[in-house]
Symmetry: C2
Subunit: 256 residues, 2 copies
């Protein structure tokens, strides 16, 4: 069971779009996939057309009241694709967790109770911050997938993220590894994006995926249909990019 936190504290860099569509691609390949919406803004939950409140327990209950992951899990219309939705109460989780014992390990503990056979992949969609929800995701994960929009702010953001990853590895989760850095929202024609990807490769080398997720309006339209790209426009460049990513990821254990 591989647990991947989809992470970048910068906003709007394709974390949710990646969690949903990579998750769906893996499910379509026959894997059992659980998506956890750890963002109080609930975009992943919306993207898949789910209403909050459809489960016995919420992720808030899992983190703060010892509810089980199973009680917070709902099926989607796609075989083998399941979700722990975000509910409005999750907004309170960060501040309430601040004073709790073992506040960074709540998600890790809950996932530890899952049967190892229950899922092949767990993808955790993180909010655009390095607060307690993202920290919980990093402490619970075996691997990190960093989505990167190749524009100027990305580079500074990666440096800050690196420091936090090192701290998490030191104090909370020595097993945590980087699965890879995924260039998203790639506009092949701009020089800026070439330069940024070049810079990232110089700095981080082999961890950058070969797959590029290109800018494709179908990926932005799919959530308005309450589903992933494969149920909306399976022939689109967005669909083929995420299939290619699933391929590349299943070929890759972790990189460092």
């Amino acid at each position: 069971m591989r647990i991947v936190a989809v992470l970048n504290q910068k906003g709007g860099v394709g974390k949710t779009t990646t969690a949903v569509n990579l998750g769906a691609a893996l499910a379509l390949r026959g894997r059992r996939v659980l998506l956890i919406d750890a963002d109080p803004q609930g975009n992943l939950t919306d993207h898949l057309g789910l209403e909050p409140g459809g489960t016995e327990a919420s992720l808030y209950d899992v983190l703060l009241e010892d509810a089980s992951i199973e009680a917070a899990t709902v099926a989607t219309e796609t075989e083998r694709l399941f979700v722990v939705p975000s509910e409005p109460d999750l907004a309170a989780a960060e501040s309430e967790l601040a004073n709790e014992l073992g506040r960074e390990g709540r998600l890790s503990r809950a996932l530890g109770h899952l049967d190892a056979e229950s899922y092949d992949w767990i993808l955790i969609d993180c909010p655009p911050s390095l607060g307690l929800l993202s920290i919980n995701a990093m402490a619970a994960a075996s691997e990190l997938l960093i989505t990167l929009q190749s524009e100027y702010f990305a580079l500074k953001g990666l440096a800050a993220l690196d420091d936090v990853i090192a701290m998490v590895q030191k104090h909370l989760n020595p097993e945590l590894r980087l699965l890879g850095i995924l260039p998203t929202l790639v506009n092949p024609v701009t020089i800026l994006s070439k330069e940024v990807i070049e810079e990232v490769k110089n700095h981080y080398g082999e961890v950058v995926f070969g797959t590029r997720i290109r800018q494709n309006v179908s990926l932005a339209e799919a959530p308005s249909r309450g589903t992933h790209i494969f149920a909306y426009k399976p022939g689109s460049p967005g669909a083929s990019d995420y299939l290619r990513l699933a391929d590349e990821i299943e070929g890759r254990r972790d990189t460092r």
Copy 2:
């Protein structure tokens, strides 16, 4: 002195790009402008090529240790354009403020000590969240400028933001008004963006600006030069869109 919070809890929707370039456009028109970087990720500070630590006090000191805005202010290379930079210590502000008295009014109080003649405009760049830093900005502001990327998640986000604005007006700042909703990252050819803007206008009517900030790679490149669009590519569509916005805004008091 008009104080505007540039706001949207959704990530990557042009808040920072707008604060910087609208601020610069107003300064170029002869106004004295203060930009406050209220985001611990410090993108606005970076965008203008400023190093953290260049001031006597930080925004953290203003919020938590009673430092003055003046002590935290630095000039830029652009006449009449000033900045209160974000520093790494700001990351601790949200959690530390949580237990302080009058925690939502710290910025308002600090701005209240400023001479009304010191600036014509104060623009506050907010993080992608509705936490204490954004709340402080909303409590301190006379007006809100909501940047909106016209894609699916925008609509749900606006509804959530509306609720928070109503709460702030009720409990913290009855004077707070909406200056307007600004469509950003507009790709004129996509149906999706037309539909979303249509939906927003149906819902919010006259508050949507006539100005559209179009997708223009020059706006994404400018931060790599440590400056605003007018010092980088004054002939670009991005420059003309922000000049047009400054025009429209100076013609508009507040809308409701």
